[in-house]
Symmetry: C2
Amino acid sequence: MYATDAEKLDVARHEALAGLEEGGIPIGAALFDADDRLLGSGRNQRVQGGNPALHGETSAFLNAGRQRSYRRTTMVTTLSPCWYCSGLVRQFNIGRVVIGENTTFYGGEDWLRENGVRVDVVQDPELVRIMTDFIAGNPELWNEDIGTLEL
Amino acid sequence: MYATDAEKLDVARHEALAGLEEGGIPIGAALFDADDRLLGSGRNQRVQGGNPALHGETSAFLNAGRQRSYRRTTMVTTLSPCWYCSGLVRQFNIGRVVIGENTTFYGGEDWLRENGVRVDVVQDPELVRIMTDFIAGNPELWNEDIGTLEL
Ligand SMILES: [Zn+2]
Ligand SMILES: [Zn+2]
């Protein structure tokens, strides 16, 4: 049971920190059901998994397995969801998104709100610091991950 | 080398038909580079892979491996891309999308055009027939795949 947003965010934070230790991009996410049960969590797998399709959110979604409905689920992610992950939320009608921070990257959260998703931002100082440091130290990798590397 | 759109679409069609034979949802996709080389192809893996995160497009994207830029790539998909897959295209700046048909499902293609993606629709009669038959025969599975199963 993960009753509070802070407890839920700690699951995503743990995934992000585990990713950082693996040499990966430190973004994690977790999906919870309406009764605050953890359905699945995951982290960005670009580096350690060689897998560009697994962002934090899509990794958590995958690890949650097949669900018949997502309307009453909550996706908790350490970082504002990119368009890819925002599209996931919208398509599967995930009802709520909790964002750890949106100062180092701002994704599709306004578009989600416009389409009826409840979005809350924690603005967690530790998560801001982790991503700020990571982007400063790995600008190419970061831009590859969000598709903005110009060639 | 897959010089024409018809040749490219046949790769996606082959994936869709292989999925159908496996008892899965018959949607396939393939990603090509600027020189018409196949980077990767894949198919919906909800049923046979138990994997709700792998739609045709995300499966092709995954199988293409890490790429430093997608701006000059073309994503060919048998069916109009859902919001999840449209978000993938937008986030990674995939330059062009070729859609086999958009009569059985209409996804985020207008949104992609508005955001600078070139989108072309083939309206292939065989693909329309395959999806029409599949949706009629498996309505629950189909609605689960596009997140519209109401519970
Ligand atoms: Zn993402
Ligand atoms: Zn899709």
